[in-house]
């Protein structure tokens, strides 16, 4: 329960901090921290316009997208307190419920019949497909290392002590941040600010969504970032008292927002045909984590 409340609070500020970091880095003052939330509220007050060529799939897809993200948020734990749902192998549930939402956003993009949106959907599906093994090998090696299979137990049992576990934690943070960037379609993979449909990935999929539906999709995006921030927080915290854990949670989320903003300010987007190899490189890094976990268990050597 606690993780749900904290993640929602973090999601309120996350995108605002990213945007503020980007504007400060480019020498502007930038909009207020709450501006993305105000945008969403404005969108929620509007109705939606549907094209005549689209079917009911296009109308229900944004709702399912947001619902899938909220479902995924339920299994994320907070330190020693469980998420609202916690069962064995819930990290598989987490990944695939997010994939369900992504599937619906893809078929709704196909449903509009626009050629641009089909292209964006194809790219999004490709990148998500490549990012999936990285996430599963990462979580699988943690499950192997600790002997548990649910998020809360894995993170509670994960001890950072020896040098090699520091290396594994750094690699895991890198993989998780990059998976978060891919899932959210942010900078090294996809530029959220691009104005050309040919170079868009995620933005082109939601070109036809308007008003209330667009608000749902944007809210989903904000929540996703905070969810991955919460996962990274859990990776490092383990079991400590609430009075330290709650401020640390917000510090980790803030730092992650600043890092995302800085990456977006100072890196150029990769060329489209370099994206796939970059994402597969994440899988290679996860494989190294897997063998590192085997090394720590003494199964190897």
């Amino acid at each position: 329960m606690l993780s749900l409340v904290l993640t929602v609070i973090a999601a309120l500020f996350f995108t605002g901090i990213v945007i503020r970091t980007k504007s400060l880095a480019s020498g502007r003052k930038g909009p207020g921290i709450m501006q993305p939330i105000k945008d969403v509220i404005r969108l929620f007050k509007k109705g939606a316009v549907y094209s005549k060529t689209s079917s009911f799939v296009f109308q229900i897809a944004p709702t399912i997208y947001l619902a899938s993200i909220v479902m995924a948020m339920l299994v994320v734990p907070f330190g020693q307190s469980k998420g609202l749902l916690s069962f064995s192998c819930d990290f598989i549930f987490f990944a695939y419920v997010l994939a369900l939402g992504k599937f619906f956003s893809i078929i709704s993009a196909m449903d509009t019949g626009s050629s641009f949106e089909g292209m964006g959907a194809s790219r999004e599906a490709l990148y998500s497909m490549f990012a999936e093994p990285a996430f599963f090998i990462l979580m699988g090696s943690f499950a192997l290392l600790t002997g548990y299979t649910s998020f809360q137990e894995i993170f509670a049992a994960l001890h950072i002590g020896s040098y090699i576990s520091y290396a594994l934690a750094v690699l895991a943070t890198f993989v998780l941040i990059m998976v978060a960037m891919i899932e959210n379609s942010r900078m090294p993979i996809d530029d959220p600010k691009t104005h050309l449909e040919l170079t868009m990935v995620h933005e082109v999929m939601i070109l036809d969504n308007s008003g209330f539906d667009l608000g749902l999709i944007l809210t989903g995006g904000y929540l996703k970032f905070a969810i991955y921030g919460a996962l990274i927080f859990n990776l490092f915290i383990g079991i400590i008292d609430y009075q330290y854990a709650i401020p640390l949670f917000f510090i980790v989320q803030f730092l992650m927002a600043v890092i995302v903003g800085l990456i977006e300010s100072f890196m150029a987007r990769f060329r489209m045909n370099h994206n796939a190899q970059f994402i597969v490189a994440l899988t290679s890094v996860s494989l190294l984590i897997f063998f590192g976990a085997l090394l720590m268990l003494g199964k190897f050597n």
Binding site: Y163, I164, Y166, A167, L171, H274, A276, Q277, F278, V280, A281, T283, S284, V285, L287, L288, F291, G292, L295, F300, N301
Partner: protein, 210 residues
């Protein structure tokens, strides 16, 4: 700590397989030299000080400074294009490199030998095969030299595993290897570069009778 550095060393191999500029290759080679310096510093604790200083100097001066500077000098001097131009796409390179690493880990896991330090064995063997793969899959002679340097690094890692028992011989061999190869190939490249203005071995396939 040594394990951490060796893991970073494997990651440099992944990076090398998706890098697409010549200068990135040179920088990664320099980074590998620095990493080998730290590995040597921590691993070779039982040999005498003078020998250790010699080995450390060799890693820093040759692997981390002299060879990269020399290679970038050749790149500039011979007007070699800045892209690496592999035969295969980088994506395939990455998958092959990953497959090599996984295969060596599986191989070493099946070897039952208590004298063998498996971590060094895995890193050395995968570096060797990756270097071979780079030589086979890249187009330019200068990239072949870089693949050769990667192989040398692999041999150095392997010799480090037994470095405490037989220090001098292995290191002198490695040092001589680096020195000779770069010197000879450097002079060779200089001449080639001056005469043909291009060192692309792919163009040799166009030679035929008319």
């Amino acid at each position: 700590m040594i394990h951490v550095i060796l893991i970073v060393f494997i990651m440099t191999l992944f990076y090398l397989s998706i890098a697409n500029r010549m200068l990135t290759y040179v920088k990664v080679l320099a980074l590998q030299g620095v990493l080998l310096f730290f590995v040597a510093f921590m691993q070779l604790s039982e040999i005498n000080t003078l020998n250790l200083v010699l080995i450390l100097l060799e890693t820093v001066v040759f692997k981390a400074i002299a060879v990269p500077v020399f290679l970038s000098y050749i790149l500039k001097r011979n007007n070699i294009t800045r892209e690496a131009e592999p035969f295969l796409p980088n994506f395939v390179s990455l998958i092959i490199t990953t497959a090599i690493v996984v295969a060596t880990i599986l191989l070493s896991n099946s070897i039952q030998d208590t004298h063998l330090d498996k971590m060094f064995f895995v890193v050395a063997l995968s570096t060797l095969f990756t270097g071979l793969y780079f030589i086979a899959s890249r187009r330019k002679i200068i990239t072949h030299v870089m693949g050769y340097m990667v192989i040398e690094n692999g041999v150095f890692v392997l010799s480090m595993a037994v470095g405490n028992e037989m220090p001098m011989m292995v290191n002198l061999g490695v040092m001589l290897d680096i020195f000779a190869s770069v010197l000879i190939l450097g002079i060779f490249l200089n001449k080639i570069g001056d005469v043909f203005k291009d060192v692309d071995v792919d163009q040799l396939t166009n030679l035929k009778d008319y």
